[in-house]
């Protein structure tokens, strides 16, 4: 790739980066402030009197491990479900031919444009009738497949040369083996990074879980966080920030662990 120096572009990027990062810095910094400091000097980046007290208070008030486990379990369930259904559906769309395929695909993609907010109520009724309130499964069930996932996997499958699939067909390999032995191994980086995105989205989900998870013991992190944000913007601001900070640890760990796959699957070239 041709690389040209461009200092004005460099500055633009740094500004965008700062805009994206500032709230995070601000959040972490306030989680180490006393309630008083946070109130008086909220925008101060380095705390005047750094303290761990918010974290210890939090540890006393809520069962942090349980919260993390609940969130993790639910997010894992959703992620696995979306990966499996997404891969199967994308594979079927890509490599099989049948009547009405185009129409089916058209409808599939249209569901991307139907907001989850809107289908939440019907879903709620189904879950409640199925007696799955207060369970991670109840949260996960209606999310086990979604069109976005199918689209992302379809896009990823564009990278597999069609001759590869044809070669396997001529060799008479059954479909499920092609998927298992050829498609999945080749798509591994894409699966990991798409999976990471699924996981994070589910990890952060708030509105839908509030409907299903009423019992405090089934709460996920975003629900617990909401408890610290009263309708008018936070009774105990540093405490909320401490919980927020805890909440981003797992996503960032996932990013760090899988960064190789994630960064590569974004742009195959040009950033080396």
């Amino acid at each position: 790739m041709n690389k040209v120096k461009g200092s004005s572009w460099h500055i633009l990027l740094i500004i965008i980066c700062l805009v994206l990062l500032l709230p995070v810095v601000f959040m972490v910094s306030n989680s180490f402030k006393t309630l008083q400091d946070s109130y008086h000097s909220m925008l101060q980046i380095i705390p005047l009197h750094p303290t761990f007290s918010n974290y210890s208070t939090l540890g006393k008030q809520v069962d942090l491990l349980r919260l993390i486990w609940n969130t993790f379990f639910m997010a894992t369930l959703v992620t696995l479900g979306k990966i499996v259904t997404g891969l199967l559906a994308a594979y079927a769309f890509k490599y099989f031919t049948f009547k009405g395929k185009k129409w089916l695909y058209f409808i599939f993609v249209s569901t991307i444009f139907v907001p989850f907010t809107v289908v939440m109520i019907p879903n709620y009724l189904v879950i409640s009738k199925a007696n799955l309130l207060n369970s991670a499964l109840g949260v996960a069930l209606p999310q086990l497949c979604d069109a976005t996932g199918i689209m992302l996997f379809l896009k990823a499958m564009d990278k597999i040369p069609s001759s590869l699939i044809e070669a396997v067909h001529i060799d008479g390999i059954p479909s499920y083996k092609i998927l298992k032995d050829i498609v999945v191994p080749i798509l591994r980086p894409s699966i990991i990074s798409i999976g990471a995105i699924f996981f994070i989205n589910s990890w952060n989900e708030y509105v839908w879980p509030t409907l299903i998870l009423k019992d405090k013991s089934s709460f996920t992190l975003p629900l617990a966080l909401q408890n610290y944000i009263s309708s008018e913007g936070g009774t105990n601001f540093p405490l909320a920030m401490a919980l927020s900070t805890i909440m981003i640890i797992v996503p960032l760990l996932i990013y760090l662990i899988f960064q190789r796959y994630i960064l590569n699957s974004i742009s195959s070239s040009g950033l080396k």
């Binding site: 040369p161 001759s163 590869l164 044809e166 070669a167 067909h169 001529i170 060799d171 008479g172 390999i173 059954p174 083996k177 032995d181 050829i182 191994p185 080749i186």
Partner: protein, 362 residues
């Protein structure tokens, strides 16, 4: 008789969105034959191969494999192997695993697998690379692995889709020799697609020249070069291209401009073309270039370009009215701008009718 034919196409037509890519193609391939499908890009040669492989379905017509209607058997049961232009190696498997995979899925016993593959790896000089991934191989090595994967299946028919087009020119000659040796040893039926006429000439027992979805000619390399069925075949085979002149039929001779280029009246009589125009084809190596005019049939020309290819030289001669004539010579005494005289070897002249463009003597 019937079991001598390995593969047969009967009036096969393939349409995409109402345009015919292949029109009523008939083709018989004998057991053990090396048949090359040759043609320009988009002529339908790859589509033909893909239909034989079962990757595409004919819109109409029949494909018979070993006398059986191919439509009733799956790609696998056709008992054929295919090498793709991009090799289509499984990137997540080692060389050995690539060769082994289909056998493993079809439950060939481990011992037999090992024996078979050891021999193939040996033959193709791949033994030391057997644990590498395709990404770690050179183009030539990948091509050999693709060949090996096809061989491992021990199928009767071997389909090859431009297998040499992705490797370095310098290695192509060697790879081509290897394919030929393999064919001699295993005597499989081979259908080989290429757009490279030299490759086709070197490899094929017979060559089928395809254009616009139709077979233009199917014959041995020698006949295709020397007795092309029509103008397309004549122009497609041979570099530099055959020279084509428009000539007038006169009672006892053929005349280009005012020069009588063919005076063999017995030959002309056989043609039964009363009068009018013809296309005359003469290959560059049959154009003799002289410094002085020795007969009235020689065409005066000016040397426009001289290319020295080492083994031979190529002259571009300019006749009257922008007509260009190329000549291949082996001792170059000419310079750009020289006025020369070109004579066309009469017995090498090919004649094509002006309308249908078919060879008038074949």
């Amino acid at each position: 008789m019937s079991n001598e034919v390995a593969l047969e196409l009967k009036e096969v037509t393939k349409k995409y969105k109402k345009t015919n890519v292949i029109s009523k193609m008939d083709l018989q391939i004998k057991n053990g034959e090396f048949l090359v499908l040759l043609g320009p890009s988009g002529c339908g040669k790859s589509t033909t191969l893909r239909m034989i492989a079962g990757l595409e379905k004919p819109s109409s017509g029949q494909i018979l494999i070993d006398g059986q209607d191919a439509e009733k058997i799956s790609s696998m049961e056709r008992n054929l192997a295919m090498v793709f232009q991009d090799y289509a190696l499984y990137p997540n498997m080692t060389v050995y695993q690539n060769l082994e995979y289909a056998l493993k899925v079809h439950k060939v016993k481990k011992e037999e697998r090992q024996q078979r593959l050891a021999k193939i790896l040996e033959t193709l000089n791949l033994t030391e690379y057997q644990d590498r991934l395709p990404g770690e191989l050179s183009g030539g090595q990948k091509q050999r692995v693709a060949l090996g994967r096809g061989m491992a299946k021990q199928s009767k028919i071997f389909l090859l889709d431009e297998p040499l087009s992705n490797i370095d020119v310098q290695l192509r000659e060697k790879a081509r020799d290897e394919i030929q040796t393999l064919h001699e040893e295993n005597q499989q039926t081979i259908v080989y697609v290429t757009h490279d006429q030299l490759e086709a000439m070197a490899l094929g027992d017979r060559i089928a020249i395809i254009n616009d979805g139709k077979i233009q000619m199917i014959d041995t390399p020698d006949n295709i070069y020397n007795h092309p069925a029509n103008l397309f075949v004549a122009q497609f085979v041979g570099t530099p291209q055959i020279n084509i002149l428009e000539v007038d039929v006169q009672t006892t001779q053929l005349v280009y401009a005012e020069y009588p280029v063919l005076t063999n009246s017995a030959r002309l009589a056989k043609l039964s073309v009363p009068s009018g125009q013809l296309y005359l084809g003469i290959r560059p190596e049959h154009v003799v270039v002289k410094c002085k005019q020795e007969s009235a049939s020689e065409l005066p020309a000016q040397v426009e370009a001289v290319i020295d290819y080492g083994r031979y030289q190529q002259l571009t001669l300019k006749l009257e009215e922008k007509q260009v004539l190329k000549a291949i010579i082996t001792n170059n005494n000419f310079k750009i701008g020289d006025i020369v005289y070109a004579s066309l070897a009469e017995d090498k002249i090919l004649l094509f009718d002006h309308k249908g463009k078919n060879n008038l003597e074949s």
